[in-house]
């Protein structure tokens, strides 16, 4: 079920992110979600795209270091407590959330949550059991 997330190593200095977004813009890469984590020294940009192969190739050609990993993407019910219900499902299953970020589906208007966990399958079955709507890589373009 999961989605493929691209992580990109960035230096933490003015302009570093801009150089990378230019590469993506020049190659017309359509991003579905974007998140940036940083320390004082370096940062990691995390990106969801429809065509992972193309995005990784253009980044590599521009000398970026990337890694691709699986993450869980799940729709958040648009009601008070919607986020809590998703988080609780993961917590109840005893699964540790390494990090997470949200994005809005431009076409569906819905909010989605991307979760990084050690055991993707376990998290997905815990979420499915609670009736959560999971997103697959193939569905990203339609959101």
């Amino acid at each position: 079920m999961s989605v493929k997330q691209i992580s990109v190593f960035l230096e933490n200095r003015p302009g570093a992110l801009c150089e990378m977004t230019k590469v993506l813009a020049d190659e017309a890469i359509d991003m579905r979600a974007f998140s940036l984590a940083e320390t004082s020294e370096f940062g990691i940009a995390r990106i969801l795209v429809k065509d992972v192969y193309k995005a990784v190739t253009v980044l590599k050609d521009a000398d970026y270091i990337t890694s691709v990993s699986e993450a869980v993407a799940v729709a958040i019910p648009d009601v008070p407590g919607g986020l809590h219900s998703v988080i609780k499902a993961v917590a109840d299953a005893g699964i540790n959330l390494e990090y997470m970020y949200c994005f809005l589906g431009g076409k569906s208007g819905k909010a989605f949550l991307v979760c990084k966990v050690a055991d993707v399958a376990a998290a997905e079955s815990a979420l499915s059991a609670k009736g959560a709507v999971l997103v697959e890589q193939d569905e990203l373009a339609e959101l």
Binding site: F9, L10, E11, A16, T39, E41, F42, I44, R46, S67
Partner: protein
């Protein structure tokens, strides 16, 4: 079987070497006394005349020559021959101040090229080899020296000079280059590039490399050897003395044989100027006993090395010097601690990082700061911030135990540190002292 370019010299008895040195030193001292007023004045000031020098035992009576003397004498002050007898000049890169201009007679060039030919032969070179000289040609001695040595050995010589990495690799592959001569940092870069092109060591025709002109560590040697599937040999030299080939490595790879028939080596304590015993690090001092045009007497190289007179399995009898631990010019004093860039390089390579790094020294609030910038590699990168931070800390700890200093380690983007085609710029010292 070990091959020698000049076996009767390279494997001569210690007594024979000593006899050559005694005779040539006496002659050389007389030559500079007669022809170089600057030397005569220095010797008079030190209260010594040519008659006092009867052999190597008397060498310590002679005054030292330093880079400051060369600067003062620029350009003709230390010239010992008529200009009409000189056929060439070469010049230093000027990395440590003003350029030095050195003069050569045809005889000087001939002996210099012999020294380089010894180095190429020691690296396994014969007239069946293809030798690509990727050192810079021109004022820099690297290209001309190895070029001449390669001719003497009879190798098919490809004078690519430095730079144009794509063309370098094209020649290596198309012309089946077997011996590569360049700086170690450029060798590492060529290796890295060939690896990126998907070439395995088996697909690279090279068998040996002769890499010098800058300090490099044993770990870097292992790295280069592995990437290109070659044996990497060190070579040492100074423009002031001739150029590459003053000393060179043999198959034992445990130090560089100094060509003692041309150069008398001493190692001294740089503070007390007293000689230190074999096996103890000190400053290397050279006397060129066969040079005609630009003969330096007791020249303080600022290179920190140790000597070994232990018999070498290769059969050469000339004394061996260790890799310079760093030029005393390269040595940084950070918070009162002596730091050589080569020590930092050793830590990084041992931990699997590339040889591309840069050291930035600054002074903030009257305290020296040491920032070691290391390039991130795909193998090191992970999506997990904690793991990356742990790797960073691992380098900090490694540096701390090597140097006794806390350094900052910055992981920088791949290829963001400028690759050098000549001497690598490893240190940026921003301190204004």
């Amino acid at each position: 079987m070990e091959r020698y370019y000049q076996p009767e010299i390279e494997t001569a008895s210690r007594e024979q070497i000593r006899a050559w040195q005694d005779e040539r030193l006496v002659k050389q001292v007389k030559h500079v006394w007669d022809n170089v007023p600057y030397y005569r004045k220095k010797m008079e000031d030190a209260g010594v005349c040519p008659e006092d020098i009867k052999g190597v035992d008397d060498i310590r009576k002679l005054p030292f020559v330093t880079k400051a003397d060369l600067r003062e004498g620029y350009p003709y002050g230390l010239l010992a021959e008529d200009l009409k007898n000189c056929v060439r000049i070469q010049s230093t890169s000027g990395t440590t101040g003003k350029r030095v201009v050195a003069f050569y007679t045809q005889h000087d060039i001939d002996l210099w090229e012999d020294c380089c030919a010894r180095a190429i032969t020691a690296a396994g070179g014969t007239n069946e080899d293809v030798c690509q000289v990727s050192y810079g040609y021109g004022l820099f001695t690297g290209g001309p020296g190895l070029n001449g040595g390669s001719h003497k050995v009879g190798c098919l010589t490809i004078p690519t000079s430095s730079g144009n990495t794509e063309r370098q690799i094209m020649f290596i592959r198309d012309l089946n280059t077997t011996i590569l001569c360049c700086t170690p940092s450029y060798a590492a870069y060529l290796g890295e590039t060939m690896k990126e092109m998907g070439l395995s060591p088996e697909e690279i025709p090279l068998k040996a490399g002769i890499f010098g002109a800058e300090a490099w560590s044993e770990a870097m040697r292992q790295d280069i050897q592995k990437t290109m599937g070659i044996k990497a040999y060190d070579i040492y030299g100074l423009t002031e003395l001739s150029g590459p080939g003053v000393a060179f490595e043999c198959s034992a790879q445990t130090g560089m044989h100094i060509n003692e028939d041309h150069f008398i080596a001493e190692v001294i304590d740089p503070d007390t100027l007293e000689p230190v015993p074999d096996g103890t690090y000190g400053e290397l001092v050279f006397t060129a006993i066969t040079k005609e045009a630009f003969p330096l007497i007791r020249y303080r190289t600022r290179d920190i090395v140790k000597l070994s007179h232990e018999p070498c399995p290769c059969g050469r009898t000339h004394v061996k010097m260790s890799k310079p631990r760093g030029r005393s010019d390269d040595m940084l004093i950070i918070r009162g601690v002596n730091v050589f860039p080569s020590q930092i390089e050793t830590v990084l390579l041992n931990k699997g990082y590339p040889a591309n790094y840069q050291i930035v020294v600054d002074r903030v609030n009257n305290t020296d700061t040491l920032d070691v910038q290391v390039e991130m590699t795909p193998e090191m990168f992970t999506d997990n911030m904690g793991e990356i931070a742990a790797r960073q800390k691992d380098i900090v700890d490694g540096l701390k135990s090597m140097l006794g200093l806390k350094a900052k380690v910055s992981l920088v983007a791949p290829k963001s540190i400028v690759r050098s085609e000549g001497k690598a710029v490893r240190v940026i010292d921003k301190r204004k002292i």
